[in-house]
């Protein structure tokens, strides 16, 4: 559910008043439901590289309405700027400006997507400038979009083709309602790994997934989303949260494992449960986490240590067990929950930000270790998400926090869950070591 203000300004009188007073007008975002069209309207592909043609051909096979030239006045579902061959900053203008005229025709919750190469891998200063320029361009454009439209970028590592499984998987993710609250972000496709699902409606069919901290909030929603996408669930939470956990397990028709993840044997117990009960283990979602906020000057060891132990040390221990297990070796996936606090910092959260920064460091360093088994590890960094936890923030602070992004609203637990489900899927096999923000392009942070 959208927050009350967002509901108010999206109907009759409230809409009128907000418009006249110049108040923020957050849109009701297009969110994914199985069976809905991937994108509501034609997709214009701008750019003259070979990749643009290949992408067009591919998207046609998805039964999308593809245009290489926009017809002014026709409402568009998405605009894709293919800029993978730019060599100098001057190369950007042609493609970008030809798209500019179409921006006003972008439908509510429409999409702008750039496809380019990482600046760090450029062979010349000019190429690096052009590639890095796309970064600034996209982040600015995302802030100009209205009515729930978002802008995101796909970075193809050198040698990775636009038709590689993960590039196409990312295109599908960003066009769809699954990425509703992902805005102003780049996602790097590292290699040609991954496979596209046989049935795009149940991309996790046959997978066994473990979700920690699943008794409530974002964790419970992750379990629901992975279940909807076809996975068999093991939901994990503290024994003291067992009643809520049981309710989630029964809802997603999985099994409940009451377990303190900080126990030394937690990783092995998770593996044993998944393998004994469900025959395999494919996906682990590290969602369990706590906050114990205090200014560092007032911090006590209990607050500091519990946050570090639960939010990052436990994940490291569990990952060690996973990496050592023969049962976690068939294209395994780890997705962990970081936080924009770990990127931008947050007053009163030195312990929490240290743990979440740690999560991102862990993800980058673990990616090469998992690669040997064809596995990936990634993080999502949620911004302001509407949960029981954020509902306890005092009203004024909460109201400010949720409007401080390009979409002028807090995200839903489902938005985080959708991103995690994508990163956990086979089609994301070429994406590893990445941190993807789900923050509506929050004004703080990178």
């Amino acid at each position: 559910m959208a927050d009350k203000y967002t509901q108010l300004v999206n109907q009759g009188l409230g809409k009128n008043v907000a418009k006249r007073l110049g108040l923020p007008q957050p849109a009701l975002l297009r969110r994914y439901h199985p069976g809905q069209p991937l994108i509501p309207g034609p997709v214009v592909i701008q750019g003259d590289s070979a990749a643009a043609d290949k992408l067009g051909t591919e998207l046609l096979s998805w039964d999308l309405d593809i245009r290489r030239h926009a017809v002014p006045g026709e409402q568009l579902g998405a605009i894709i700027l293919v800029l993978d061959e730019v060599e100098r900053p001057e190369d950007l203008g042609r493609t970008v400006l030809s798209a500019a005229a179409s921006l006003r025709d972008l439908a509510p919750s429409g999409r702008v997507l750039t496809v380019s190469r990482p600046a760090a891998e450029a062979v010349s200063p000019a190429a690096a400038a052009a590639r890095q320029g796309i970064d600034g361009l996209l982040r600015s454009l995302a802030k100009e979009l209205r009515a729930g439209a978002t802008g995101n970028g796909i970075l193809l590592a050198e040698g990775v083709d636009i038709t590689s499984p993960s590039a196409l998987g990312a295109v599908r993710f960003f066009l769809s309602g699954r990425s509703a609250f992902v805005d102003g972000q780049f996602l790097k496709i590292s290699d040609a790994g991954g496979t596209l699902p046989q049935d795009a409606d149940i991309p996790l069919a046959g997978k066994v997934a473990v979700v920690t901290g699943a008794a409530r909030g974002i964790g419970a929603q992750i379990a629901r989303t992975l279940h909807r996408d076809g996975a068999t669930l093991v939901v994990v939470d503290l024994p003291a949260a067992g009643d809520h956990l049981a309710a989630v397990a029964n809802e997603v028709k999985g099994t409940a494992l009451q377990l303190d993840i900080t126990r030394a044997d937690a990783g092995q117990r998770i593996i044993d449960h998944a393998v004994q009960r469900h025959g395999r283990l494919d996906i682990v979602i590290h969602n369990a986490g706590i906050t114990r906020d205090k200014l560092l000057a007032n911090m006590d060891p209990a607050r500091w240590d519990s946050v570090i132990n639960i939010n990052i040390a436990a994940q490291l221990r569990i990952n060690e067990a996973l990496l050592a297990s023969e049962h976690f070796s068939q294209s395994p996936r780890i997705v962990t929950v970081a936080s924009t606090s770990g990127i931008a910092g947050n007053r009163g959260q030195t312990n929490y930000a240290a743990s979440k920064g740690g999560v991102m460091g862990m993800v980058r360093a673990t990616a090469p270790l998992l690669a040997e088994a064809g596995g990936t590890i990634n993080a999502v960094a949620p911004g302001f998400i509407e949960t029981e936890m954020t509902a306890r923030i005092p009203l004024a602070i909460r109201e400010t926090a949720r409007r401080l992004n390009s979409l002028k609203q807090g995200g839903q637990p489902a938005d985080v869950a959708e991103t995690i489900a994508f990163l956990a899927s086979d089609s994301a096999g070429g994406i590893s070591g990445e941190v993807l923000r789900v923050c509506g392009q929050n004004l703080v942070g990178a």
Binding site: G242, D243, N250, A256, Q258, R277, G279
Partner: protein, 453 residues
Amino acid sequence: MSIDGQSATGPDQSARPTAGATGLRRAVVVGGNRIPFARAGGAYAKSSNQDMLTAALDGLIARFGLQDERLGEVAAGAVLKHSRDFNLTREAVLGSALSAETPAYDLQQACATGLETVVGLSNKIKLGQIDSAIAGGVDSASDAPVVVSEGLREVILDLNRAKTLPQRLQILSRLRPKDLAPLAPGTAEPRTGLSMGEHQALTTAQWKVSREAQDELALNSHRNLAAAYEAGFFDDLITPYRGLSRDGNMRADTSAEKLASLKPVFGRNLGADATMTAGNSTPLTDGASTVLLASDEWADARDLPKLASVVDAEAAAVDFVHGKDGLLMAPVFAVPRLLARHNLTLADIDYFEIHEAFAATVLSTLAAWEDEEFGRTRLGLDGALGKVDRSRLNVNGSSLAAGHPFAATGGRIVASLAKLLHAKGSTDGRPARGLVSVCAAGGLGVVAILESV
């Protein structure tokens, strides 16, 4: 053969085959789930039996992924039961995540209800009538039925049958003020008018069980239960309920001094011999428990664990009405009969789970088994049945610490014991063996043997 009609089976008859040897298949305990037990009037004061049993079922379903499963049968019961709960177990099943096509029945055998559901359903599995089952029990001392007087009840029923106004007025005129007072449920034995505690006080005095021994047993119960919680033993046996994640009655910090300071509450007419206090007696408790039972095939097909098999059980009853035996002493007779049937002695048992209705109940039972004279004259043995190794007794605590929601106690014990046995496993090819003993009102007792799988 014993001289008093309590037929203890002698060694010559003990060759009767066990279930396994008869070609019947095994019934195994897959696991269990209960809600933490709460003191009456506490966390579950507003919870009905149906609420609690449904919660215990749903936790079990979640633990083992039984959503939408059509199980062979679910049997449970409550000792304190509202008349509206005539189909309590079936209603709980319908409110749970199980398939609505799972049959269910209620069973009632006082405090042995929970264990008897395990026994009955295991037998059905062994016979091949069903492949899977959930046994359970629930009781609320908080949400107990309150009954109207016999006078008022008769008037209401007659009014219902009356056809004319004058008839109705005539019936109503029979009402007297005293008929309007509600009757709270009593725990007194109908035939003696004595409460269970007063009955036990007589037995306690008869077996000369000391206050110190009772307090020591109570202290161990609390300490063992608290240690089991700390070790995470209950992590996969309990699902929290209504804000409670541990048994509300448990006092991890109690001490011999604290227990010694309590005044006797039962047997006070015995004067200085009164030894039974609130500390060494179980409190009135609310709670529910469940046990998942299955055939090997059913459990294997679902990749479910198998903790222990339910080997055999025996029920007994004593004539407490005429004072021949103590009200809660039936297990004293049931256990030797069950052991004899399997050619076992007390020394063959790795874990004893003797329900702590009162500390003195356990100690009277042990005293009777250690008594040469009693063994010869009442149990028909050559001497004493034997000594229970106290280090094997109620090792993870029992009812004194956990509390005793009457019908839920059997399920609590069976699930915990099955987990213990599985952890111990076989030694030199001999499975770990556990003995459950539950006494009950009406002079009843049910005992059972479980073996590790």
